[in-house]
Every structure is written in C-alpha cells, then in structure tokens.
C-alpha cells in the first residue's frame, strides 16, 4: 500500500498536484456557497426592512 502511495518515487509530486487541485476546487465551491448564503441573507434583510418601513 505504502508502495502505491510512493508512486515509484514520484509520490510527492503526484499527490502534491492532486491535493492542491482538490483543495482549490473544494475551496471554490465553499466560497461560492458562502457568497450565495450571505447574499440571500443580506438582500432578504434589506427587503424586509424596506417593507416594514412602508407599512410601519
């Protein structure tokens, strides 16, 4: 098994590539989702506040 991970001496390079790629993709997805959540929250609050201003 560990031999497989060593990848014939190229393990560091291969795993370095795959790991960084995975990291970037995960981070990008998380960032996109977080942005979406914050946008929905912020705009929702804004719209609610405007509504209460009009009615109240």
């Amino acid at each position: 098994m560990s031999e497989w991970f060593a990848m014939g001496g190229h393990g560091l390079y291969i795993w370095g590539s795959y790991f960084v790629t995975a990291l970037f993709m995960v981070v990008e997805v998380v960032l996109v989702m977080r942005r979406r959540r914050s946008v929905v929250l912020r705009l929702g609050r804004m719209i609610r506040m405007k509504d209460s201003e009009v009615s109240g």
Partner: protein, 249 residues
C-alpha cells in the same frame, strides 16, 4: 431560437441556472470518480516516465479548461457589449475566477511535473510562458472588475478588456512560440512528443473523462456563482422580492 430569448432574461434564467447547476454538478462528480479510478488503477504505468505521468490527468484538462474558459468568457463579454444583455456580462464575470483557478492549477501541476521530468520547476518555454501570461490576463480582468464600484460600469469595463485580451491571446501565443524557437533547442518538445506517441487508448479515454469532469465542474460552479450575481444586481425588482420572501419564510 424563441426559447433562447426567453432564457436571456435574468428572471427566467435564475431558476433554470439553479437546475442546470445541480445537474452539471452531479454529472461532474460522477465523471470525477470514474476518472480518478481510471487514472490511478486502470491506466498502466508509462514505460518512459514511470508513475509520474499520472499528473497528466489533471494537468492537461486544467490547461485546456484555462484556455477554453477564456474564449467562452470573451464571447459572453462580446454578446454583452453588442446586444447590451445584462446576463451575458454576468456570465463573463462569473466564469473568470474558475478560469483563473484552472490556469493556476495548470501552472502548479506543470511545475510539479517539470521537476521530476526536466529537473527544473520552471523553464521559459513558449507554452509555459503563454500560460503564465494567460493568468495575468485573468487577474487583470478580475482586478479591474473589483476596482470599479458600480456593478454595471464594472461589467462593461471588464467586458471591453476581455475583448481586447482575446485579440491578444493568439498574438501572444504565436509570438512566444516564435521567440522561443529562435533561441532554444526543442529538448522539451521531444519529451512531449514522446508522451503523445506513447499514449495508449486507455490513457486517452481517462484524459477525456477527466476533461469532461472539469468542464462540467466549471459550468456548475459558474452557474451557481451567476445566481448570486443575478440576485445582487436585480435586488430592486419584484421577482427577487417575492423569491426572497419565499425563501425566508
């Protein structure tokens, strides 16, 4: 044709984008699992490079994506400038971060591949250099967009830049290639050629699967990014209001 125009309005595109993003996301995940399995367990060890060549299965898709996304982005920007459709410029700006990410990944994996193969992290080769410049073009696009406060102005300015950039991309590509062949022997090309000729059928298929996984990933991510942008820019309209009220409740 009629349908296309219907979906070019943000209000009707928003839900469609949501459904498409989920679809492409799932497809990308499935292809990614298959592709990773193939790249590590199915594809044979290369007779010349040993295991090291397995970096190819992300390097090459990332490199292809980096260039393809720029072209798509410029097309959206052009459509946005010509027909003044808001949605196009939003798509352009939401493609850019993903494109920049793939460019960086291509550079990173290339460097990690280069060390064992050429003994150097970096050489000033034509392909490498023009990829680096592509990263600068992406960063310039994003920097300009984020430097302008007003979103509509930002979209128009960065769209113009994307257009100018896309004229420049082939010029850069050929100039760098020519510049390089003038000075340096083609030692690197030989290695490349070696890989290509030795590429077995199964390697080619793995590469293809991984490429489509990356492509679908890019589509999914930029579609969900554009959804946030649509909400922000259309926050004054009635449909966003009703939509958000529904989501809060």
């Amino acid at each position: 044709m009629f349908n296309l125009f219907k979906y070019s309005s943000p209000a009707s595109f928003y839900p469609l984008a949501g459904r498409l993003a989920v679809g492409f996301g799932i497809a990308s995940a499935i292809l990614l699992v298959i592709g990773l399995y193939m790249s590590f367990f199915v594809a044979p060890t290369d007779y010349k490079q040993g295991e090291g060549y397995r970096i190819m299965f992300i390097h090459v898709p990332a490199a292809w994506m980096s260039m393809w996304i720029y072209v798509v982005m410029a097309c959206f920007a052009a459509a946005g400038m010509i027909w003044n459709t808001r949605l196009s410029s939003m798509m352009a700006s939401s493609l850019a971060p993903t494109g920049a990410m793939f460019t960086f990944i291509a550079l990173w994996t290339g460097a990690l591949w280069g060390k064992p193969m050429w003994g150097a992290w970096w050489v000033w080769d034509a392909r490498l250099t023009s990829e680096l410049i592509l990263l600068f073009l992406y960063v310039g696009f994003m920097a300009l967009e984020s430097a302008i406060d007003d979103p509509r102005r930002a979209a128009r300015a960065s769209g113009l830049l994307a257009l100018v950039g896309v004229i420049n991309v082939p010029i850069i590509y050929y100039s760098v290639q020519w510049w390089n062949t003038l000075h340096q022997g083609s030692s690197i090309k030989v290695v490349d050629g070696g890989i290509e000729s030795s590429m077995s059928e199964i390697m080619l298929w793995t590469l293809l699967v991984m490429t489509f996984a990356c492509w679908f990933y890019a589509v999914a991510v930029s579609l969900s990014r554009v959804r946030s942008t649509i909400l922000e820019r259309e926050s004054g309209t009635a449909w966003v209001k009703t939509l958000l009220k529904g989501e809060q409740a």
